[in-house]
């Protein structure tokens, strides 16, 4: 079909789509985000398609791969529409039953239902899952009903409606900026800068081109918010960017768009490329979009795997073909960014919020969240929590509610110890602050930060010194290496912390770390350096006792630092079953069957295998 040349044509097409679609049609939606894909969703989809074919019901039942639903713990996930029956941990061998029993006969397959560990109740419908029930899924809500590779799915759900309404109601670009300002939307990529103010500054900066960039270089370990949004609903990001281009560069300037996306996100890249092609085919990108006079297209730029390229100036240098190194921002990128032109950069989640805000209205959006942090935030909830996955909650929800209500509490009944937020340059928040409402400012106050939304939950078996060492190790490799303070400072802080975990800590180490932290923070150029000491400073602040135990007593209270722990066999308990001796990779355990065994310390590498395998808890760790 020909591209839409006006909003009237778009509306007519959408109307026809809605009329043609049967809302009661049976659709078997399979989560096909990266997590479910890794858990076998590809094979599952093939098996379901085959089962549909064998049952001869392809006229009534379809199989739809979707983006990430969020409940990664239950991967792979299947939702059978229209009743939204949820099945978790589905295997290809269940395919025939799902088609024949659920899709065709409406029966619920009990063994595939999720069992709430708290109540023992089986959850039948997607919406009843406690994991989803406490969330506010403005952005993720459509993921289980949308095929991200079909623009028609987005259009049938009112997609590109925010953009069309701007044109229908002739809302001026400046008025859009005012709306975004009023909505209170703050950048979701880390800094939390008010998006409307950024757009305004960029619009007012002179230049023959105004660039609009989507930062999809999400590099925090354990974070996959932006990946999931791009995989699940790429058109929401594209629509946000079109509206941004209109607000920032129309009609006084030319506009061009870029998405800078990690090479390591093949599925997101694939789906984004499809979405861009489909948007172009429909005339939603290109010259004179919908007859508006706005010409705008988006180029995809692949990142090469450097964490620092998530920093705006490094990202722009990388697009230009230079090494990804940040530059001083005494002149802001909104004035002189990509190719020296005014450039507005926001991250994936920020752009996806734009059509949502305009669709639901500024007042309704402002009603969600806290005084200075509006709307929702997506977190990737990972670590020692029962329900790992992607969660979207209103700003201001307490850590306790996120971890215990949405996340279902700590695994294996262990004690909650700390949560690390904000990615590698964030901080560790201790259990004593569990009632903290999560928003930009409150996280800053306690020495952490929102970052892009990683949330790593830690239990009593996590050593906080080791956590600091882990993040320093990441940062010393991911610093671009330009500033001596960041490059050498992080590396030297790593040396000290690593020494402490090996039992080589000395009195004065903590003070030296604090001195180094100051110079790294104060004298480095970009946010990577100025925030890099956070993992060390926050663990020193809240877990000083653990540092002291490592340094003075050569003891790791969490029993994780290998150099500081000893495994022994408790003679009274050992039954001589030989399990430990069999699993020991260094043959450090000897003993005769049915007699007490012995660990030879000089051979032991503290791997903990014996501890895990002992059936009678006869191994102690000190």
């Amino acid at each position: 079909m020909a591209p839409f040349s006006s909003t009237a044509e778009l509306h007519a097409y959408q109307q026809a789509l809605v009329e043609r679609r049967d809302p009661d049609r049976t659709v078997i939606a399979v989560c096909y985000g990266t997590g479910c894909k890794a858990s076998g969703a590809t094979e599952l989809i093939d098996a379901l398609k085959k089962a549909v074919q064998e049952a001869g019901c392809s006229d009534r039942v379809s199989v739809m791969p979707t983006g990430c639903h969020g409940f990664c713990e239950g991967a792979p996930l299947v939702v059978v529409h229209p009743r939204r029956i949820l099945y978790t941990k589905v295997k290809p061998r269940h395919a025939a039953d799902i088609v024949n029993k659920t899709a065709l006969a409406g029966e619920v397959i009990e063994p595939l239902l999720f069992v709430d560990p708290d109540t023992g109740n089986k959850v039948v419908h997607e919406g009843e899952l406690p994991f989803y029930a406490h969330q506010h899924r403005l952005l993720l809500g459509r993921h289980s009903t949308t095929n991200p590779e079909e623009i028609d799915d987005y259009l049938a759900n009112g997609g590109y409606g925010a953009w069309a309404r701007i044109l229908d109601e002739q809302i001026a670009p400046e008025a859009i900026i005012e709306l975004i300002k009023k909505s209170g939307l703050r950048g979701r990529g880390g800094g939390g800068f008010p998006a409307g103010r950024k757009w305004d500054s960029c619009r007012n900066a002179p230049g023959e081109v105004h660039y609009v960039i989507c930062n999809a270089d999400e590099g925090d370990p354990g974070a996959f918010m932006d990946e999931s949004v791009l995989e699940g609903n790429p058109h929401s990001v594209i629509e946000g960017m079109i509206i941004g281009a209109y607000a920032i560069g129309f009609p006084h300037s030319r506009t061009e768009g870029y998405v800078y996306i990690r090479h390591e996100y093949p599925l997101a890249r694939h789906r984004l490329a499809i979405a861009l092609d489909q948007a172009r085919e429909k005339g939603l990108l290109g010259d004179n979009i919908l007859g508006s006079g706005l010409s705008f297209d988006i180029t995809v730029n692949r990142g090469g795997g450097a964490f620092v390229c998530g920093e705006s100036t490094a990202l722009m240098a990388s697009i230009e073909g230079f090494p990804g190194e940040p530059r001083a921002k005494h002149i802001h990128t909104v004035v002189s960014g990509l190719y020296g032109m005014p450039t507005n950069l926001n991250n994936v989640e920020t752009w996806a919020n734009v059509p949502v805000i305009l669709n639901m209205g500024v007042q309704a959006y402002r009603a969600i969240g806290t005084e200075h942090s509006k709307g929702t935030k997506i977190f990737s909830l990972v670590g020692k929590v029962n329900n790992t996955g992607l969660v979207e909650v209103p700003m201001g929800m307490t850590l306790k509610d996120i971890i215990f209500q949405v996340g279902g509490g700590i695994r294996n009944g262990k004690r909650f110890k700390a949560v690390q937020t904000g990615g590698p340059s964030g901080g560790c928040i201790p259990a004593s602050l569990i009632d903290l409402p999560v928003d930009f400012d409150r996280l800053d106050e306690v020495g952490s930060m929102m970052g892009s939304g990683g949330m790593i939950v830690m239990d009593e078996t996590t050593c906080m010194v080791e956590v600091a060492r882990y993040f320093l190790n990441f940062l010393r490799s991911e610093s671009c290496g330009k500033c001596s303070t960041c490059r050498e400072g992080i590396a030297r802080m790593y040396d000290i912390v690593e020494g402490i975990t090996r039992g080589e800590g000395k009195p004065g180490d903590v003070e030296l770390l604090e001195e180094l932290a100051e110079v790294v923070r104060e004298a480095s150029l970009c946010a990577l350096g100025t925030t890099a000491p956070n993992p060390v400073l926050s663990t020193i602040r809240y877990f000083a006792e653990e540092y002291r135990a490592h340094i003075e007593e050569k003891r790791c209270p969490a029993k994780q630092c290998k150099a500081l722990i000893t495994y022994r066999i408790i003679e009274d308990r050992c039954t001589g079953c030989t399990a430990c001796a069999k699993i020991c990779p260094t043959d450090a355990i000897t003993g005769v069957k049915d007699q007490v065994h012995l660990i030879h310390q000089e051979k032991c590498i503290q791997c903990g295998s014996c501890y895990e395998v002992c059936p009678v808890d006869a191994i102690s760790v000190e």
Binding site: A306, V308, P323, G324, R327, A328, H330, I331, L475, R476, S477, E478, S479, C480, G481, K482, C483, S484, T485, R487, E488, G489, I490, A491, R492, D495, I496, L512, E515, L516, E518, V519, E522, A523, S524, L525
Partner: protein, 254 residues
């Protein structure tokens, strides 16, 4: 011209100048290892920290890449700046505690040793990037660049092979603040960055003029006649003086 203050003294600067060059031009003493007036400021060493107050807000920043702005006030030394500079110096010193140039700078800042573990590769390179900038910006050869990132960053030719675009001019070695870029030269050849060049000599006196690649590049850049590069500066001066004398005094000195 714009006006601001450095340590309370009013100074004037051109728009586009950075704080460090203005401060140095006015006789203020600010330490630096990565700044050179003939190339762009980069901000790698972080020694040139100053405190800038603008509209009531103060911040510590490097002066080499901070623009001179009207009305700001700049402090080049106070206890905090001194302490931070000493810490920066300790960090830089880790790269090669025995390097004489680094030791001299450490002495100047009152740092007698570094309390930190030394870097794994102690080749004296502090990754200031002056060699790379002089090669790219001033020479225009672009023969070396940074490789890798983080604590594995280093300077190298492409793929560590002898660089095809190197002209053997030695500008990198001359500008290096720690003097660790190695080169060798004998009567007829010069070797740098693993590449050996033959040397062109002055047709008059036999003094070394440079490499053929270097001379060709400079000829291209300056547009001078090729014969200009036949002789050394001293012989050319002598030739010019002789010719001048012939025209003026008929070859006879008065």
């Amino acid at each position: 011209m714009l006006t601001f203050t450095i340590d309370g003294q009013t100074v004037q600067a051109e728009e586009g100048q950075n704080l460090l060059e203005v401060a140095l031009a006015h006789g203020f003493d600010i330490p630096t290892l990565c700044y050179h007036p003939s190339v762009s400021a980069y901000g790698a060493c972080r020694l040139c920290l100053v405190e800038v107050t603008q509209r009531g807000r103060s911040r510590i920043t490097t002066s080499c890449n901070y623009p001179a702005l009207p009305g700001i006030s700049v402090v080049t030394r106070n206890d905090r700046i001194d302490r931070l500079r000493r810490l920066v110096m300790e960090l830089i010193l880790c790269r090669d505690p025995g390097n004489p140039q680094l030791q001299a700078m450490a002495d100047r800042l009152g740092v007698d040793r570094t309390r930190l573990r030394f870097a794994s590769r102690q080749d004296g390179c502090i990754l200031c990037g002056l060699c790379e900038r002089i090669c790219r910006e001033s020479i225009g050869a672009d023969a070396i660049s940074f490789v890798g990132r983080g604590h594995e960053r280093r300077l190298a030719t492409p793929f560590d092979e002898p660089s095809e675009s190197c002209v053997g001019c030695l500008a990198c070695a001359m500008v290096c603040p720690t003097q660790v870029i190695e080169f060798t030269q004998d009567a007829d050849t010069r070797t740098i960055w693993k590449r050996t060049f033959t040397l062109v000599k002055c047709k008059e006196c036999g003094a070394v003029l440079g490499t053929p690649e270097e001379l060709a590049l400079f000829q291209r850049k300056t547009g001078l006649d090729a014969s200009y590069f036949d002789t050394c500066d001293a012989c050319r001066k002598k030739q010019t003086a002789t010719a001048f004398a012939a025209v003026t005094w008929g070859g006879q000195r008065p």
